[in-house]
């Protein structure tokens, strides 16, 4: 048996491309697409480059995805964006920032790769940032809404079972990075300045 890469003796570019167009390709959940992707990186880059996309592969974490090529590349085309940007509300942004920190701390503790949190743990994380007047049920509802949004964005994954456990997906690291947090921090600081200005005026 010679080490053939695939049943048909060839790599499946279509499989890789379609998987990437549909979402994040992960080593453990998209085993075949991931294997083929590793061998086909140049072809995939060429292909998605035509539609203004960029391939990002993190081999050590085991995921790959497509992102919009940065705008400052002297634009050779007026093609519209293929990857949408989502506006996030303040509670969702805050939850993302807090989750990102949990992930950093989790890595610092060692042990397991996967970070799994329950809904209650997330409620506790957020509780202190909610006005004291709110009743408990409202806090829970609000966190539940934020969680649903983050699940939709693809950074949390509900685990089967009825105990409300969610896995923080490691891809969160490459989206909510230091740059993004810095930006969010700066916007909050600016808003605080505006409020302070109104009070003194």
């Amino acid at each position: 048996m010679s080490g053939r890469p695939s049943p048909r003796g060839e790599l499946d570019l279509s499989l890789v491309l379609v998987s990437l167009y549909k979402g994040v390709v992960q080593r453990d959940t998209h085993e075949r697409a991931w294997q083929h992707l590793l061998h086909l990186q140049p072809q995939v880059r060429d292909h998605v480059g035509v539609v203004g996309l960029q391939l990002v592969v993190d081999e050590s974490e085991g995921y790959a995805y497509l992102r919009q090529r940065p705008e400052d590349d002297d634009a050779t085309t007026d093609a519209p964006r293929l990857v949408a940007r989502r506006q996030l509300s303040f509670p969702v942004s805050l939850l993302l920032a807090l989750l990102r920190r949990r992930l950093a701390l989790h890595d610092a503790e060692g042990g397991d790769v996967r970070l799994v949190l329950t809904r209650e743990q997330m409620v506790e994380m957020v509780r202190v940032f909610v006005p004291e007047s709110s009743n408990d049920a409202r806090v829970v509802d609000q966190v539940e809404t934020s969680i649903a949004k983050v699940v939709e964005l693809g950074f949390l994954r509900r685990l089967p079972g009825d105990d409300g456990a969610l896995e923080v997906r490691r891809i969160l690291k490459s989206f909510v990075d230091a740059e993004w947090l810095h930006d969010f921090d700066a916007r909050l600081a600016a808003y605080r300045d505006v409020l302070a200005g109104q009070e003194t005026a």
């Binding site: 048996m1 549909k22 996309l53 989502r86 004291e132």
Partner: protein, 476 residues
Amino acid sequence: MEHDELDSLRRHPAWRLLSADSAPLVLDVLGAVFVDSGGGPMAETDLVQRVDDHLFALSRTCPGRYPRPALEYVRDWAEPGKGWLRAFYPPGSDGRHYDVTPAVEKALRFLDGLRARSFVGTESRLDAIVTLLRDLALGSEPDTERRLSELERRRAELDREIEAVRTGRSPLLSDTAQAERFDQVTRLAVDLLSDFRQVEENFRTLDRQLRERVTRWEGPKAGLLDEIVGSRAGIAESDQGRSFHAFFDFLLSSSRQEEFRELLAQVHDRAGAPSGARTRRVHHDWLAAGQRTQETVRSLSEQLRRFVDDQTWLENRRVLDLVRSIEQHALALRDTGPIPVAADLPDTHPSLVLPMERPLYRPRTKAAVASDDVVEADAVLDATALFEQVVVDRERLVGAVGSSLAGAEQVPLAAVVGRHPLREGLAELVAYYTLSAAADTTFDSVVDDTATDRIGWTDRDGVDRVATVPRLVFTR
């Protein structure tokens, strides 16, 4: 041990376990599920099922003593305040898994020591101590002359012994001496097996300590690099790492395994040695436990490497600072009403809209279900057709391995299949993995979890298929 140390040991999970009201239940269940079987981690649903079975059995003998549902017990035992189970999510699975902590093994061993023993062998242990001391003295003697004279003394001793056997003047070990040694071997073998969890735990502790050092590092970058280089080797280079490595090499060496197996078989077959199934297959258990530990070490080293990666480390540090600042803003703004600050993020994938791919509305037709007059069937059907979908001829597989092994010490499954292509596909492939378990084969096999093989075949519909499987090696 002093009073203060003893006092702090009362918080040790093993002590807490022994003093808990539910200790008989915990030790009974966890001992049966994890320790006696030599098994590894287990999924929550399976474990809860096993606990439930035990609870059901106990509800007859001591009703009302353990009133809670099985799931609650399992979750409770994994709480930090108990620490008898380690809960975790293994890669590639969505369910919680559990493994017992070394504390449970320690408690079980302690209790085993409480049992009255009919006789305590002293002579064989003294013998073992002297042998160890001799090894130590010879192995640490720097003077070549003295080493040589010691070795020559041993040779002379061997010569005397050979002469004694030749002339028939050498007595066999007495029955007592045999039983004593066998007892000692059994104890050592089982102890070694239960030490694996502690070894794994030690590796985890090492990993945590290294990460803590890296996280707390405040010095200049060059110093951090030294620290990183030092810590990278940390796990493998520690005393624990070296000892485990040497042990595993020993286990994986086929000639040593062969010798070990033969010795075990000889001892077991000889009259006088009590039959114990546990020791007979203990090297298999060692291998399985060793592989699990090896896997843990591998994944810990890999994660650690990622963690001390320069960029990740700096990024994590910035992330912590930034989130702290964000938190302060959020706290200050908490009571000012809705906060109109929004961030945005790109999607993780492009949005493609294919309107023509949306199916048109189709009214649903309800299937009428008439289950009013269901009667018992009286037709006699032959169910064997269901079981005869695929028939794998074991004899043929045994023959294939045998002929591939001719003239070789060992042969990987991939090579066997290369010479004898799979005819029945996956079923046949799986059958190869079950071969060595049977007694009628002249060969043995080892599964190497750290390596995989890709094995291909053509199924009945003419489609080429490939399976990625752990490497299986047949040995003579």
